[in-house]
């Protein structure tokens, strides 16, 4: 077949290839694959996109293989649009987390909005109805240039897209650190529900089957998005604004409903979202999975603008589009449903047995590339690695003098207003968290979001799914291996604090430029740390995403391996109200769940786990010294596992009335957070032992939780903790209108709840400059 370049296309040369982000070595591979023929401009575009870091994972693949991806519940591991995990009785959940960092920094509203749109498509193309969203955001210091408007724009973008789609936001986390001043992180997570025997995959099999293009028309937005995500930022990147896609959640909502309607029938072979690198990656990946070829008529693709070229059509990242392969005879059925929802659906080509991708433009062949060899020849680098120099000294920085008891009240009031610890109420209330009426624990109500699963007839199934996301990037900065392990441990601990057993993880690995050996070493350590924690806690990674080149002006972010975690409670008809709703299903065998807020005065507060003299990486130390320093807190994975099992069992039995993982801010902040949510005070009577005052109250030792227990359940709780070998300490009681703390029988704090709550609640808005 003779391939003819279009006269209006630029002449393809090695120089042009380098401009499109290919290396000289990769250009040689291109010529090998085209058997010496100079590729056409659209062909060169395909190579540049498919071999970009973003699409090919060329720097990360060699390390990703370390992640444990198998388990008895795993129905689909990494490599598809999303991972799928079995939750029993014919049901499964599909989920994934993905980054949209660079677009969100350039254009925060659209960048964040399309991040949500992209992850939703990844999940519903698997055949799943999305049930829950999370988002993990990392911003710089609020006084940094543009930062307040970035925060507002990102939150509004997520809110606008997710709310319009009618998917409840169940949580997420928001962090602030100077390392993100020039490179914010926007990671979006979606979980959907599907029947375990109705999983749809991105595969283009069946020679002669029609290939359909469905959804929005193709425009010129987002061309080179994948390449943009594969390079560092520098000044003047405003010019990259056209590479950011523009989203339309209304069209996506129609696409969602249309796809779910199609999935109800046996009409299609495979379907894939046109995400990063658009038509290029979707068509190559679908054919590559099936070992087939594709022939597409590019001039028949619905276009938003006149004069679009094959190059633009292959590389556009216009949103809300899918590529679908229909079964013979069902092309019209699919088109009818799409038209019912007012969307475009056009037959643009066929599956072939040639193993090649043929792109025609008004009859002429302008693209002719081998599919499998192109995927196989994708570069795979074992890039040089080197231990960063800062690690030699960062752990040895001396601690400041201990906090004096007379300074405690001021310290608490100050800490509670830092962006990290301040209430995120201003952000969270912009997200709809109760749409679809399944939310048992919404944002801020528990350590993980909790949704009930309904049967097909709409009645509650008794299954409850928990979702959370986490990463303390300061720990990762101090120790890239153990920091990543901490992220897995904390995410699973959050699930255990609501009573759910971890059943699967998704990761979104945000790191710096892989061409710097220090970053590559850090990335490898992160993967190994995740591996160690996953193996110890018995939970697989089923999907994920890598975002490298998170650098601006040569400065890399802290390593931030964000972990999205999914947990399950079987036969859980809820805690208190259960009997009222469904008396017929209530029995002694029912499991309970737990929120994080204290529930009743006179309940007894316990600490589970061990507090050490650890201040490294803590918010307190950052507040005292203005920097992130010290040794990363220890993580003993066997202790972690016992703690989590103990929490789950105590909650399941109904002994534990609230549970809150201790993380940023430590013990005192954790107690205050639980009390705020329940509008209750507390009296703590603590023993200092060998601990510094600040380590006791604000240290961030891992594998700890604060729980509250009914007075009558104390014996059983202590017996349970003993059986699991979990250290427990009685801290005090819930109640009163103040937060009162005594240490070794000396009162050191007594502050009215309302005063502290006012500071906590308004701090973020004040620092964003929205109120005085």
């Amino acid at each position: 077949m003779s391939v003819r370049p279009l006269v209006q296309d630029p002449e393809v040369t090695e120089t042009l290839a380098l401009q499109l982000g290919l290396s000289a070595e990769e250009w040689k591979s291109v010529l090998r694959l085209t058997e010496g023929r100079t590729p056409t401009y659209p062909e060169l575009g395909i190579f540049s996109a498919m071999w970009s870091e973003h699409c090919s994972y060329k720097s990360s693949r060699i390390h990703l293989k370390n992640l444990p991806t198998e388990g008895p519940r795993v129905l689909q591991g990494p490599g598809e649009n999303a991972g799928v995990v079995d939750i029993g009785d014919g049901w499964a959940v599909a989920f994934k987390m993905e980054s949209h960092n660079h677009p969100s920094f350039i254009e925060p509203f659209q960048g964040a909005a399309t991040g949500v749109g992209g992850i939703l498509r990844d999940v519903f193309t698997m055949g799943a109805r999305p049930l829950a969203n999370l988002n993990s955001l990392r911003f710089g210091e609020l006084k940094a240039p543009r930062m307040s408007s970035l925060v507002q724009g990102v939150v509004e973008g997520i809110s606008s897209y997710g709310n319009c789609m009618g998917i409840p936001m169940l949580g997420g986390d928001v962090g602030f650190d100077g390392c993100y001043n020039g490179n914010i992180l926007v990671n979006a997570f979606t979980l959907g529900l599907l029947r375990s025997d109705r999983i749809f995959r991105g595969t283009a099999s069946g020679v002669g089957n029609p290939v359909l293009y469905i959804g929005s028309k193709t425009g010129r937005d987002g061309i080179h998005g994948a390449s943009m995500a594969s390079a560092e930022f520098s000044e003047g990147d405003d010019e990259k604004r056209p590479t950011v896609q523009v989203g339309d959640p209304f069209v996506e909502k129609l696409l969602l409903e249309a796809c779910l309607e199609i999935f109800n029938h046996d009409w299609i072979v495979g379907i894939q979202d046109m995400g990063a690198a658009g038509l290029t990656s979707s068509s190559f990946e679908m054919a590559s999975r099936a070992g087939t070829g594709l022939e597409l008529r590019l001039d028949t693709i619905p276009m938003r603008e006149e004069g679009m070229t094959p190059f633009e059509l292959m590389l556009s990242e216009s949103q809300e589009r899918m590529l679908l392969v229909a079964k013979p005879g069902h092309e019209q059925d699919v088109i009818r449903v799409l038209h019912k929802w007012g969307l475009d659906a056009v037959s643009v080509g066929e599956v072939t047995n040639s193993g090649r991708f043929i792109g025609r433009w008004h009859g002429e062949v302008v693209i002719d590339l081998p599919i499998q060899p192109l995927a196989d020849a994708a570069p795979k680098y074992d890039r040089p690695k080197k231990v960063p120099e800062y690690l030699a000294t960062v752990a040895e920085a001396p601690y400041p003098t201990d906090l004096q008891t007379q300074d405690l009240s001021a310290a608490l009031q100050s800490l509670i207003q830092t962006p990290t610890l301040a209430s995120k109420h201003w952000i969270l209330r912009q997200y709809d968290g109760t749409v679809r009426g399944n939310t048992l624990l919404g944002m801020g109500e528990g350590d993980a979001g909790l949704i009930r699963i309904k049967n097909e007839d709409g009645s509650p199934s008794g299954k409850v799914v928990a979702v959370t996301s986490d990463c303390n990037s300061r720990f990762c900065y101090l120790d890239p291996f153990w920091g990543a392990a901490h992220a897995v441990a904390e995410a699973c601990r959050n699930l255990s604090c609501v009573g759910a057993e971890p059943i699967g993880l998704t990761d979104c690995l945000n790191y710096g430029n892989p061409e710097k050996p220090e970053n590559m070493w850090t990335f490898e350590q992160g993967c190994l740390g995740i591996r160690q924690a996953c193996l110890a806690l018995g939970v697989p990674v089923v999907s994920g995403n890598v975002s490298l080149y998170n650098d601006t002006e040569g400065q890399s972010i802290f390593p931030t391996p964000m972990i999205g975690a999914v947990g399950l409670i079987e036969r859980c008809f809820t805690s208190v109200p259960l009997e009222e709703d469904h008396p017929e299903s209530f029995s002694a065998n029912v499991n309970y769940y737990s929120g994080s807020s204290f529930r009743s005065a006179a309940d007894v507060i316990y600490l589970l786990g061990t507090t050490r003299n650890e201040l490294g990486g803590s918010e307190y130390l950052k507040w005292r010294l203005g920097r992130v320093t010290g040794p990363c807190p220890e993580l003993h994975l066997d202790d972690e596992l016992s703690l989590q099992q103990c929490l789950r069992e105590g909650i399941r039995m109904g002994l534990i009335r609230s549970a809150h993982d201790l993380s940023e801010g430590g013990l005192l902040i954790g107690c205050v957070e639980s009390a705020f949510q329940g509008n209750l005070g507390f009296q703590l009577e603590l023993r200092r032992g060998h601990l510094r005052l600040d380590s006791l109250l604000f240290g961030e030792s891992a594998s700890r939780a604060v729980i509250s227990v009914h007075g009558e359940a104390i014996r059983d709780l202590e017996q349970l903790a003993h059986n699991y070998g979990v250290p427990f300490t009685k801290l005090g009681v819930v109640g009163g209108k103040s937060f009162s703390v005594s240490i070794d029988d000396v009162k050191v704090l007594d502050i009215p709840c309302v005063d502290l709550q006012r500071l906590h609640r308004g701090a973020l808005e004040r620092q964003l400059g929205l109120t005085s």
Partner: protein
């Protein structure tokens, strides 16, 4: 009870309305597509659900108010049938001229999802018959445009006809300038037409009908309808 839940492109809370009607209340309920021209025969109650019909393009509810099914809804209402508009459904009913006034962007210009308290202003309606006058109901709001407004003449007629059914209140039950987070005129959360058969409100009673979800006060509205229907028939 026979319920029709309208489904527009972009409706989100249609599932929630169907769930409450069918599973919680045990009613017969059917989704009705926006391009249909007839409601199911013998429909008692039409629920115009929340969401973002037509993407909220032009103005919230504006395009949906012209959908083919709306003619049938007008006929149903003219015959005295019940029409309940929730959130976007309230906006649609205002745009369709079935209820007076309009819903502007929230004070503060941001979407608000939070629990609110409503004071029941009258309980002599089919929608509130099982509630007490002055009763405080807790349920969520989730909207960007819920800031009710109307001109002075309309406000006067709302008062004259006792059309204000729910006002935003503090949890204490007090209604004042600070009790409507969205900035609604006179803290109006829901209104009825003069004949008493068309109710529109911004909060979501259908999300507050099951104890397991943490809120049950919305149930009172649906139980009132159940009670009123038995009384009527």
């Amino acid at each position: 009870m026979k319920v029709a839940v309208l489904v527009f492109p972009g409706s989100n809370c249609d599932h929630d309305a169907l769930h409450v009607s069918q599973i919680v209340m045990g009613w017969e309920a059917h989704p009705v597509w926006h391009q249909d021209t007839e409601l199911p025969a013998h429909t008692d109650l039409v629920i115009v659900p929340g969401g973002f019909s037509y993407g909220d393009y032009l103005r919230c509810g504006a395009i949906a108010s012209l959908a083919p099914i709306m003619k049938a809804v007008h006929r149903h209402a003219d015959e005295g049938g019940w029409v309940l508009g929730i959130c976007n459904g309230f906006q649609i009913l205002c745009e369709a001229g079935l209820l007076p006034g309009a819903l502007l962007r929230n004070r503060g210009l941001r979407f608000l999802h939070q629990r609110v308290h409503l004071r029941v202003e009258r309980n002599d309606l089919p929608y509130t018959a099982s509630l007490r006058q002055g009763q405080i109901l807790e349920m969520p709001i989730a909207h960007g445009e819920g800031n009710y407004t109307c001109d002075e003449e309309t406000l006067a007629s709302l008062h004259a006809n006792r059309q204000i059914v729910f006002r935003y209140a503090h949890s204490s039950g007090d209604v004042n300038e600070t009790s409507a987070a969205n900035g609604s005129l006179e803290q109006i959360a829901g209104i009825i037409n003069p004949s008493g058969n068309i109710l529109g409100l911004m909060p979501h009673p259908e999300r507050a009908c099951e104890a397991s979800l943490g809120m049950v006060d919305g149930l009172g509205i649906f139980q009132s309808l159940e009670h009123s229907r038995r009384y009527v028939s």
